[in-house]
């Protein structure tokens, strides 16, 4: 006979109030301290463009931009983002005009199921912001935190190569 024994459940802590800029809009939000940035986006704000592939920082599907840097939203608690400027895939297009990377992803067919796509796009924007990745091999290496189980890597690489110059010129986040 074997058993797993429960530990006691305590009362839940209080919500915290945070302010942040989300896709260009200032937001004031009440968040539980145990809510991740990813769950805040997906479940509380219905911004389901950011995906959850693992919840453990192992797949990159949840990649968003925080102050222009790419992070795994599943590895950040929402309360840690007080004052931050956050861009998700929903905020990449401006005035109804697709971001050059979004356009390149369509033209190069850089996805199949689309579930890794938001993460790939935000990650690639972050990559452009970092000012690195000047060769194919560098792009390959620096995009390796974003898994694509459909295996669309060849086309993802081609799309990023196509769009990187425009991203750097435009300096868009």
């Amino acid at each position: 006979m074997s058993a797993t024994s429960p530990t006691a459940g305590a009362g839940l802590p209080a919500a915290h109030s945070i302010s942040l800029t989300l896709n260009g809009q200032p937001r004031r939000l009440e968040v539980q301290p145990w809510t991740t940035l990813l769950d805040l986006l997906r479940e509380q704000l219905q911004l389901t463009g950011s995906k959850k592939g693992c919840d453990h920082g192992q797949c990159g599907a949840c990649t968003v931009l925080v102050n222009g840097k790419r992070i795994n939203a599943c590895l950040s608690l929402a309360v840690m983002q007080d004052g931050a400027e956050i861009t998700t895939v929903e905020g990449l297009a401006e005035d109804g005009r697709l971001h050059p990377l979004q356009q390149a992803f369509i033209e190069r067919d850089a996805f199949q199921c689309g579930y890794c796509t938001s993460g790939q796009l935000c990650s690639a924007v972050g990559l452009a912001n970092e000012g690195r990745a000047h060769s194919r091999d560098e792009i390959r290496e620096l995009m390796s935190g974003n898994l694509c189980r459909c295996g669309a890597y060849t086309n993802i690489l081609a799309a990023i190569e196509d769009a990187l110059p425009a991203c750097r010129e435009g300096g868009r986040s």
Binding site: M1, P6, D39, K51, L92, Q102, G151, I156
Partner: protein, 732 residues
């Protein structure tokens, strides 16, 4: 211009996918939604003695904990639990009783107002078990014959092998693999005010999910509707309804509330998988490598409750010419979940072993591996005694070899190197079936001239939305933006499972026929007017161009679709088609084929393998969209690389549990693993497979890749690794 078929058009769902607007099953917002988190067993076999749910229920926000003790009524007989992709046996029933059949089995569902509360409370559920001894080791279980109809032995393979001039005898193994689509399985069940259910499910067939939950929960027609507009990958994992949908429906019925259940990545290892196999190949040949005997014996793994079978050994009797063939297939029943079809099920395993053995035969006879295959080519499927409707495999060898530069190959292992990297070139053939299933579709033309075509199929990333839009647009002479294709909804005409590479052929044929039926309807409607410019014309006399129906012989005699619909007096005109395979097809064997050429670089000191170059030459009939089709093949090659070098779900036999149940420890290829991949579509015309002449491309891209890599690794290193995956420890 409205010729869409054969054009590399952008995906019609592309804009939704790149802007984050495509909504997947676990993403539909519902007021008052509750969240269910499953609690899984920690042992592989036994009984639940007691469940302690008090602590979980005490967490603020927890609504209830469901288990076999308080679940709603479920069907009593096995037949209610069968589905469109069932294996033989007694299907698994989530939360049915106190029996534990495998490690990771769902035992309870904690439902709470928030995801976080449910996730936390699920950790507080205590389970007391009566443990029973389990067996998860395929090597330690006595096998039984698989309930599969193998082709009868032909000739006398054992005798022919015994007297063959050249013999190859080798054993190959492949491990358990898990599908791991990027989107974990999820279901959102919306409880409607009238008690009806709207179920968003991750599935390869909304119809399958609906029939399944209706049967097990006794739902009447119209009580539920299943929707599945976007699927974040599946590769077979959505061919059977998985336990998250059963739990979500169960909780919704029990609580009379809307419920979402999303599996964690760890839980993605708690249902179907590609079965482990042990295979033994015996090839007998003359000095020139002509096959005289093929014996292929397969041992696969299955669960205790179902016998999962797939076509593993069949390929060894079909792909090449050989008059003495014996195939065998056995299963070992283990305390694991039932295996499940996974991309190119069976073929990818059997052809891996066959194509590696052929490489060994090439070495033994000194015949070039490509030449060996050409010499053994068979235009007939000898298993079935039928000619292939088309089999442009020889063209695949020729075009693939040319693009790859195969003629430059020195057959000597370890003959190429670049610094500390040994370079190897290998190749293999691939094959898959070209199936055709009954399917239905409906085409509706609105008064504004726009067309909606619908069928309850799925798009799991394969491009169904796009390809069906092309077929419909082409048939009715409409630009792509005038056509909308709807899928993933049980209120639409029935479609088969989205799998097996038969969607374009089956649903595509139905779409084409529905559109052709609509042309007839349009013509008949137009001809109700005695002065119609189309009076007296037959469907063969007319054509659809730029939203008009006109006489081929006299294009000036023409009517716009809009005029015809207006003339009908109703807001739209529609037609439905139920497509079925034609009898002519029975006279032929049908399949897609491939030749895969691979270059690997093996670090001599570290044993690391990089696949630096792949050329896949594919014969899959007519390609409707070269852009999405090429993407499918590229994806298949990536899967082949994963299978060859990385993927393996490891069992701890002491615990009876999969150990590496995460994406950090279950390795799949990442961007840096993928180098130069090239795809060639070889021209292949086939009027027999289906009216479109398309064979499907979802599976063929993976088949043969692992063998080509293993053969290239041999060529690079002189080491024959016969156990997948080829990890560095096996090369040092």
């Amino acid at each position: 211009m409205t010729a869409h078929i054969g054009k590399p058009l952008d995906r019609v769902d592309g804009p939704l996918k790149v802007t984050g607007q495509a909504q997947y099953a676990g993403e539909f917002a519902v007021p008052g939604l509750t969240y269910g988190v499953a609690v899984n067993s920690t042992l592989a076999k036994g009984r639940i003695l007691a469940l302690d749910v008090d602590a979980a229920k005490a967490v603020p926000g927890v609504v209830d904990v469901l288990s076999h003790l308080n679940r709603p009524r479920m069907a009593a007989y096995d037949e209610s639990y069968t589905d469109m992709d069932s294996a033989d046996g007694a299907p698994f029933r989530p939360l049915f009783n106190d029996r534990v059949l495998y490690s990771g089995q769902p035992l309870a569902l904690v439902v709470a107002e928030t995801f976080e509360a449910a996730r936390y409370a699920a950790t507080l559920v205590g389970v007391r078990y009566a443990q029973e001894p389990h067996q998860t080791d395929i090597h330690r279980q006595a096998p039984h014959d698989a309930p599969a109809e193998l082709p009868k032995p032909r000739g006398d393979a054992d005798e022919a092998f015994a007297r063959a001039a050249v013999k190859v005898e080798a054993a190959y193994s492949s491990p358990v693999e898990h599908h791991n689509p990027m989107e974990p399985h999820a279901s959102t069940v919306v409880y409607q005010p009238d008690g009806g259910l709207t179920i968003y499910d991750k599935t390869q067939s909304a119809v399958n999910t609906l029939e399944f939950v209706s049967h097990i929960f006794g739902l009447a027609d119209g009580d539920a509707r299943v929707l599945s507009p976007f699927v974040g990958g599946a590769f077979g994992s959505g061919l059977r309804p998985q336990y998250q949908v059963v739990l979500a429906v169960m909780a919704a019925l029990h609580l009379k509330r809307s419920v979402r259940v999303t599996l964690t990545r760890q839980q993605m290892f708690t249902f179907g998988h590609r079965p482990q196999t042990l295979q033994r190949l015996k090839l007998g040949a003359d000095q020139k490598g002509h096959l005289e005997a093929v014996i292929h014996e397969v041992l696969g793994e299955t669960s205790r409750f179902e016998d999962f079978t797939e076509h593993v050994a069949e390929w060894s009797g079909a792909l090449y010419h050989c008059d003495n063939v014996r195939l065998a297939y056995q299963l070992a029943a283990l305390d694991v979940y039932t295996p499940l079809d996974m991309r190119a099920p069976g073929a990818v395993l059997g052809i891996y072993a066959l194509e590696c053995a052929l490489d060994e035969l090439a070495v033994a006879t000194g015949v070039d591996p490509v030449q060996l295959r050409i010499d053994n080519f068979s235009p007939v499927n000898q298993n079935e005694g039928k000619p292939y409707s088309s089999k442009q495999l020889l063209a695949c060898y020729q075009q693939g070899a040319e693009r790859f530069g195969w003629s430059q190959r020195n057959p000597q292992p370890r003959s190429m190197r670049e610094g500390h990297q040994l370079i190897g070139w290998g190749m293999a053939s691939g094959a898959w079936e070209a199936m055709l299933m009954p399917a239905s579709a409906k085409a509706t033309l609105a008064i504004d001239g726009s067309l909606v075509v619908a069928s309850a199929t799925a798009d799991i990333g394969t491009g169904t939305y796009t390809v069906m839009t092309q077929i419909a647009g082409e048939t009715l002479g409409l630009p792509m933006d005038k056509v909308t294709f709807k899928l993933g909804d049980t209120s639409l005409p029935k479609a088969p499972l989205e799998g097996g590479s038969f969607t374009v052929s089956s649903v595509g044929t139905a779409v084409q026929q529905a559109c052709q039926a609509l042309i007839k309807t349009l013509l008949e409607t137009a001809q109700k007017d005695d002065d119609s410019p189309l009076a007296g014309a037959t469907p063969d006399d007319v054509e659809c161009v730029d939203g008009c129906l006109r006489l081929k012989a006299d294009p000036a005699r023409s009517l716009t679709f809009t005029d015809i619909v207006r003339q009908s007096g109703s807001p739209s005109l529609e037609a439905q088609a139920d497509a079925k395979p034609e009898a002519e097809r029975d006279k032929y064997a049908t399949g897609s084929h491939a030749a895969v050429f691979v270059e690997v670089k093996v670090d001599e000191a570290l044993g690391t393998v990089q696949v630096s170059r792949v050329v896949s030459a594919i014969a899959a009939g007519r390609v409707v969209n070269p852009k999405t089709a090429e993407n499918q093949i590229l994806g298949g090659v990536v899967w082949g690389i994963g299978m060859a070098l990385q993927e393996e779900t490891q069992l701890d036999h002491h615990l009876g549990r999969f150990m590496n149940h995460s994406l950090a420890e279950y390795h799949i290829p990442v961007q840096a693993d993928i180098q130069d991949l090239q795809v060639i579509f070889v021209e292949e015309h086939d009027r027999i497979v289906n009216p479109l002449g398309s064979k499907g491309v979802g599976e063929i891209g993976i088949v043969g890749v692992a063998a080509a890599i293993a053969n290239a690794v041999y060529h690079a290193t002189g080491k024959r690794v016969r156990d997948l995956p080829i990890t560095l420890d096996k090369l040092l």
